[in-house]
Subunit: 282 residues, 2 copies
């Protein structure tokens, strides 16, 4: 297992691979790996000659009052876990190497970035699109895999790759969940034992929405109201947003017709958690 | 000479070249080629295995009241001229292929884009940075050459390539001038015979500035004032801006110390012309 910290060294490694005509699959992460990340890596392993992951807690996607400094980090454990699923190389740059003094270039995906998490985290997706563009230029992956748990991120990055004619296939992996339904997230670590229980309301509200649609409910308003009600009844839990949108451009829909995505963000104590589910009117 | 209009066909051409381990030099243009463009191509010809130019009048870099529709176009003539300097392939996409319905991703280079032309043409450099990112992703050049006449564009693109870790070397070619000093530009075509004479004030004001510095003048204010005076004395000519800035970040300087760039934009009749010169205090 190779850990590369410098951008020029990473580019050298990539150049040697490309010279042989071989392919690269990249799984970008912020580290503190969990089973969700590992499933993305397992998915990527057979898809290319080389499986690379990046571990970088990207400062430009955190707001000034967010958890950049306390975001959990554990490189030794991450290295072991990545090795266990066949990762060949970890790119782990410093913030100073990625954003040197005077850095001033940003990639913006308009519209899709603005609602949902974009509304409560201004600049977040600009930071995501920018760092992923940089990672794509440094690692030149043929395939990059992102988790569906961060649905808006996935939609933003797909649109970015398409709009900017990037030479990479952006693939999604379904949200990986704990046995009781909680979507895996490095931020789950912040939860107390009680909060860990309260946090089940996210997946339960989404499953309830799916059942409502299966029972014939088509009004987005009614489905969202039920989710809000469930969240508000849960201790320590407050709604950041509950929204039902079209799957590609993430525009709110009024009625469920064909496929839609229900996405929500909930604060449980001080921890902001997100989750989403596909709703399908048959 | 190959003219490729479709993005997938261009990517196929590039893939075949890269598979052989060969290199590409790109000269991006908006067409209506003049000797300035051809000199850039001559410079690029020996630098890579393949010389590609793009001809694309990029709508996203024109403001709503600017000359997008009347910008001069002449593909048959451009093709002949490009062939005469050894261009192997012209990429000539449609605006619809480059910016399909729903397009929403933009690259912004902050700070450097804001003064000079950026102040009178809001959004211009965002359009430039975006289209050049797209061209770089489609054509994957090892080297790209831009003219120094568009000095701010060059500085923006250099910073963009560096910040986003792009795998391309951005090179500059000195401004190519008519015998009487007028910087070559496709927009010179808009000038009447009289205006063509008045337009000499741009290069003359810059040369006067250089002489002032050689004579010991160090005050940017004094040097700029002389240029403004010369322009205001010229019929049909109005100052858009006259500025002296540092060469990399384009921040205005108060005194000439070491190298600086004096840049100006002048409206001659309805035509906006730009030019610049390096000033050096010895």
């Amino acid at each position: 297992m190779k850990i590369i910290r410098e951008i020029p060294a990473m580019k050298d490694w990539v150049r040697a691979v490309k010279k042989k005509g071989e392919t690269i699959c990249l799984v970008p992460t912020m580290g503190y790996l969990h089973k969700g990340h590992l499933d993305l890596m397992r998915m990527g392993k057979p898809m290319a000659d080389h499986l690379v992951i990046s571990i970088f807690v990207n400062p430009t996607q955190f707001g000034p009052s967010e958890d950049l400094d306390k975001y959990p980090r554990d490189l030794p454990r991450d290295t072991e876990l990545a090795a266990s699923v066949g990762v060949e190389c970890i790119f782990h740059p410093s913030a100073e190497a990625m954003y040197p003094k005077g850095y001033c270039t940003y990639v913006e995906v308009e519209n899709i970035s603005e609602g949902l998490c974009g509304a409560s985290r201004p600049g977040h997706f600009r930071g995501v699109a920018t760092v992923v563009t940089k990672l794509f230029n440094i690692i030149e992956p043929d395939i990059a895999i992102f988790g569906e748990k961060d649905y808006q991120q996935l939609a933003v990055l797909r649109k970015m790759a398409e709009d900017l004619n990037m030479n990479v296939q952006v693939l999604a992996h379904p949200t990986v969940r704990e046995d009781d339904g909680l979507a895996m997230s490095s931020r789950n670590k912040y939860l107390s034992t009680e909060q860990r229980q309260y946090a089940l309301v996210l997946s339960q509200a989404l499953l309830k929405a799916r059942r409502l649609v299966e029972q014939g409910e088509r009004s987005a308003e009614a489905i969202k109201a039920e989710a809000v009600r469930m969240i508000e009844q849960t201790p320590e839990s407050t709604v950041d947003y509950v929204e039902i949108v079209d799957p590609a451009l993430l525009k709110p829909v009024e009625r469920i017709e064909g496929r839609a995505v229900m996405a929500l963000a909930v604060r449980v104590g001080a921890t902001r958690l997100i989750d989403n589910i596909t709703l399908e009117a048959s």
